[in-house]
């Protein structure tokens, strides 16, 4: 793509290019978003092939070489049981991404329909649904997740549910806001007058038109879901030992701080890089799809 094409594009949308193509090209012109995408691609590959990439077994004990600093044999050092920190960081990427994707999937699956129905039908249904969402919004996200996990019991599966519930209201609110502006749109009324059912109107006419802010929010929520999982595992409420998780490794590393700072440094860096990549992609998507939105601030603002 040349610079002149880029310059004219924003003012004069070219008829033969679809919205998707324009979005993709806008995102790809954003260097931060591209680097975020590249890092994420690498991370996902690492997560998929983790057992083959990791040089040692995650729970391969080697007590004689415990608490060894970074070396060629152990680039990230070894932990208090002589386990290879690099291998554990690599394998833990699976858990983090998995929890992130599934938790946000739950939030999407609950929040988007609630927002669609509340926005489309309005009235009493709208008030009831949104008041319920307000209740979930009335407790800081991490505190609500802690409370849910205290009830369901710790564990990776429950952590996914807790994080998913916590992020549901954001999707409901964003979807509802977009639907409100569409409810009386000409194409919706036209579909209605042609006898389309509510389900069909919502599914084929309304949903595709509210998807942009939802996509942006999805990417940003992935970042926060991964942060939340790390915090919960750090508190001992998420992934249970001996499975490795970045948050858990950090809390285990605290006890050996002075002898082995690498035990806490590398898992933390892994979280930072992953979260930052999702944020870059989210910001890039927002600039391309939904320039008015300030979701990174708003969504973390309520976290």
């Amino acid at each position: 793509m040349t610079d002149t094409a880029a310059a004219t594009e924003s003012t004069q949308p070219v008829a033969h290019r679809s919205r998707l193509q324009m979005t993709v090209s806008t995102v790809f012109r954003n260097r931060l978003a591209v680097s975020g995408l590249l890092v994420l691609a690498v991370l996902i590959l690492v997560a998929i092939f983790a057992p083959w990439i990791a040089p040692y077994g995650v729970n391969e004990l080697n007590v004689p070489s415990r608490l060894e600093g970074p070396s060629l044999a152990h680039p990230f050092g070894t932990d208090n049981l002589g386990r290879d920190v690099l291998s554990r960081v690599v394998v833990a990427s699976r858990v983090s991404l998995q929890v992130g994707f599934i938790a946000v999937g739950i939030a999407l699956a609950l929040g988007v329909p609630v927002g669609l129905i509340a926005g489309y039908y309005g009235g009493r249904i709208d008030s009831i649904l949104m008041r319920i969402m307000d209740v979930l919004f009335s407790v800081p996200a991490i505190v609500l997740a802690i409370a849910i996990l205290a009830t369901l019991g710790p564990g990776i599966f429950n952590a996914m549910i807790a994080i998913g519930i916590v992020y549901t209201p954001i999707f409901a609110r964003i979807t509802r806001g977009s639907v409100l502006s569409l409810r009386e749109a000409v194409f919706v009324r036209a579909a209605r007058s042609l006898g389309a059912t509510d389900g069909r109107i919502l599914g084929t006419h309304v949903l595709p038109n509210v998807i942009a802010p939802v996509i942006v929010q999805t990417s940003l929520s992935l970042a926060f879901a991964i942060l939340a999982e790390a915090a919960l595992s750090f508190l001992g409420l998420g992934v249970q030992p001996p499975d490795p998780a970045w948050g858990r490794m950090l809390s285990e590393g605290r006890g050996f701080f002075q002898q082995a700072p690498w035990m806490a440094i590398f898992p933390g860096l892994a979280i930072l890089v992953t979260v930052m990549s999702f944020n870059f992609v989210g910001d890039g998507l927002r600039d391309a799809l939904d320039p008015q939105q300030r979701s990174v601030i708003e969504s973390r603002g309520v976290a």
Binding site: S138, P140, V296
Partner: protein, 314 residues
Amino acid sequence: MTGFIVRRVGQMLLALLGVSVVVFALIHLVPGDPVRIAMGTRFDQEVYEALRARAGLDRPLVTQYLSWLARAVVGDLGVSFRSGAPVTELVWQRLPATMTLAGAALLVAIVVGVPLGIISAVRSGSKLDYTASALSQVGVSVPDFWAAVMYILVFSLTLGWLPASGYVSLWADPVGWLRHLILPALSVGLVSGSIVFRFVRSAVLEALNQDYTRTARAKGLSRRQVLIGHVLPNAWIPIVTVIGLQLGFLLGGVVVVEIVFAWPGIGRLAFLAIGDRDITVLQGTVLYIAFMFLLINLLVDIIYGWLDPRVRYD
């Protein structure tokens, strides 16, 4: 304005009622008998029955909820299954430490975020803007508890400048109080500061690009006059909003960071209650945190409505 405040207070009370249902449900969704679990090996039939009756666990759910709510409204949240101490008392003892940390973190966030955001926007594209923006990207992505751990590593264990954990009372030892406060406040505050920075920068940039700003410059006002008289008053409204929203987020961060620094606040109280399966204490802490959170949001909304009359007619 009065109608707006009344409406918002009503919404807040409704949300609080909803939270009370959720919090109450906690105790009944927990598998097993919470009293028996909390008592553990120190089981005693008489104490057990007294605690159960005290918590009203032998009555129907709706009755239990209503009587629990009636008592909660007057500040009685039951007693700890562990220690037997009243929950309200436990929470109030720890509230000052949490408020201190939240206040200090907010101060850090504002002192770092607001001036840097304004300068970055005014000199957008400069080296300073570039550096501050890059740092804010790290700030919004860093886990606060990891930042806390890293600060301890550098400033306590390596340099030995500040204590790694604990809390001393302001009245007993003001210097020690401040030294214990700095690292936890930075852990929470710099993350929030990064978000405040990004918001302030974009709000000021937006105001700088408005027609009225150009007009003000064109009629001969200096850059400083335009900034103070035209740009900042208009950027102020979103800035107040985001700072208010940050307070809620801060509470979440404070809860986690309290645990890292063994800071004796309600976050740590909640965390210890989970470990002890002390459900009444957990209920009480969540309810209080939600109450604080809603109260802050209410205040922000009222300030917002006062600053920007359009908001009142939602």
